[in-house]
């Protein structure tokens, strides 16, 4: 019989002096969404941290089992609303792989161009929010002003500013025009000039360094036990990026580096993300320069019916490896869809990292993990 135990009870009367239980969240700016962490404290130090999830749970996997393949597509953007296009990409690539649909070259270029813009926008929001957690207000304003430029660009092609649904089976929803491409190039030029400001404002700052250096260190041998991925993993010296390790779309044709840092602390994760912004700018520039002419959508059947079987598709989102595992029974509705989301695995190491640290460090660690709570809860 299925057994479920209830939450641990703290016996306050048996606690030593200075020990207490502190509820962080569910409504706390440092938890970036409705996450609650039950902290058992000894003064300013954390003895145990127990994240309580599920406040934003919507049973996305059951929803996917009740809809056709096309209907599921826009729902996914509601999980990671900061990286909506990556969910688009994972789903359409998965179905295309199973059904054997062709994708025109121009559509692949547009997909990568928009996805990398989305990645930078997500990193900007993380940058602003992370620094805000650490008490710095000005960087937030810079990051959000630049993020606004990307949202304007993406709105012009996808029609929405946040939960984009732009990719389609066999291509993209609509072609991009020269105004969009010129705007993307202007954004790249602007960011190349403006990015040094980010570094001069934050990276060398003594207070910032002291708050993040040697805080929340993830050692390389701890990474695979928790299934860590994305910038959190690459801050711990592992060069794993789905775009190069398990290449998809046109990434093998593009020239870019995968930034890696060795220290494994909050500062290393910060540096990896900032360097990723630069690499994404390089990718965007290459896709604009190499954008082929031609159609943006191939002919695919109106009713999508993947053959009976199973398939997995992974993409690199701003937070790490998103993998969708699909079991099809040959009908128009998926039999089973499993979302392997990066935030879930990356947050699962938090209790381990917070143990024995100051409360203020726990907020720096949470911020550096860059999780999106609706993605964790699904």
């Amino acid at each position: 019989m299925f057994e479920s135990k209830t939450a641990p009870t703290y016996h306050l009367e048996s606690m030593e002096e200075n020990q207490f239980v502190l509820n962080l969240g569910p409504q706390h700016p440092g938890t970036h969404g409705v996450l609650r962490v039950v902290l058992h404290m000894d003064g300013e130090y954390i003895l145990t941290a127990d994240p309580v999830l599920g406040y934003g749970h919507r049973m996305q996997e059951k929803i996917a089992e009740t809809m056709t393949y096309t209907q599921v597509l826009p729902y996914m953007a509601r999980m990671d609303y900061l990286g909506a296009l990556f969910y688009n990409q994972a789903w359409v690539c998965l179905v295309e792989k199973m059904c054997g649909f062709e994708v025109p070259k121009r559509a692949e270029y547009i997909r990568v161009l928009c996805a990398e813009l989305n990645r930078i926008a997500s990193h900007f929001l993380w940058f602003g929010a992370f620094l805000l957690d650490l008490g710095a207000f000005t960087p937030f304003l810079h990051a959000f002003a630049d993020r606004e430029r990307i949202l304007d660009l993406l709105e012009s092609v996808t029609g929405s500013r946040l939960t984009h649904c732009y990719f389609r089976f066999g291509g993209v929803g609509a072609d991009v025009d020269n105004v969009f491409l010129a705007g993307a190039q202007a954004f790249v030029d602007h960011m190349r000039k403006h990015l040094p400001t980010y570094h001069s404002l934050v990276t060398g700052n003594v207070i910032f360094q002291q708050r993040t250096k040697d805080v929340g260190v993830i050692l390389p041998f701890e990474t695979w036990g928790y299934g860590i991925s994305g910038p959190v993993l690459r801050g711990s010296g592992k060069q794993y990026d789905v775009r190069t390790s398990e290449p998809y779309s046109i990434y093998p044709e593009l020239d870019f580096k995968v930034p890696v840092e060795q220290a494994g602390d909050c500062l290393a994760r910060y540096l990896v993300r900032l360097r990723e912004i630069e690499e994404s700018l390089n990718i965007i520039e290459q896709t604009i320069a190499g954008m082929p002419k031609g159609p943006v959508r191939s002919k695919v059947p109106k009713i999508i019916k993947p053959p009976e079987g199973e398939a997995a598709m992974a993409v690199e989102t701003p937070r790490g490896e998103l993998m969708i595992y699909l079991v099809s029974d040959g009908s128009t509705v998926p039999y089973r869809v499993k979302y392997r989301v990066p935030s879930f695995a990356n947050l699962s190491i938090f209790s381990h990292l917070a143990r024995g640290r100051l409360l203020a460090d726990a907020l720096a660690i949470l911020g550096s993990l860059d999780m999106v709570i609706p993605e964790v809860d699904r």
Binding site: E3, L53, K97, G100, T223, A311, A314, D377
Partner: protein, 151 residues
């Protein structure tokens, strides 16, 4: 010898290769539940990371299938490990002591499918409320039939 064969050398496990280009998986193996922990230990020692733990409810066959997906950071190798049990009282061994990240996955899969993970370090509900009595990812679960709490 592939990485999977190296890892599972000496264990009584038959590995089938899969067509990676069409399904995204490199290999799969179905094991007896008592072999799950030795296999996971062998994969962990070679640096395989656990992508996810999930299950599939095969209602027609009265079977619950546990699915474990692994991959490797240095050498891309997606490996699907499956175990199966009867649908009425599904019990799987927990691998939380080998992969600490598996604990959350098992808590989630446990509450969604009504599976008990034996010897799990933590078997509380993760995403559903603690008092939940239904298992939403079971194929015979009807969302519309559930009472809606409007309080």
């Amino acid at each position: 010898m592939t990485l999977i064969e190296t890892a599972l050398d000496g264990l009584d496990v038959a590995v089938d290769g899969l067509e990676y280009t069409t399904c995204g998986l490199h290999a799969q193996a179905e094991v007896r539940p008592d072999l799950l922990r030795p296999v996971c230990r062998a994969l962990h020692s070679l640096g395989f990371f656990l992508e996810t733990v999930t299950a599939i409810d095969w209602l027609a066959d009265e079977i619950i299938q546990g699915v474990y997906l692994f991959n490797h950071y240095e050498q891309n190798t997606r490996f699907k490990l499956t175990i199966r049990t009867v649908r009425a009282h599904p019990v799987f061994p927990s691998v939380g002591a080998i992969y600490p990240g598996a604990v959350w996955h098992e808590r989630e899969t446990g509450e969604f499918f009504g599976i008990t993970y034996k010897d799990s370090p933590d078997s509380r509900c993760l995403l559903l409320p603690a008092e939940t009595t239904f298992h939403p990812l079971r194929k015979d679960f009807r969302p519309q039939a559930q009472p809606v709490d409007t309080a």
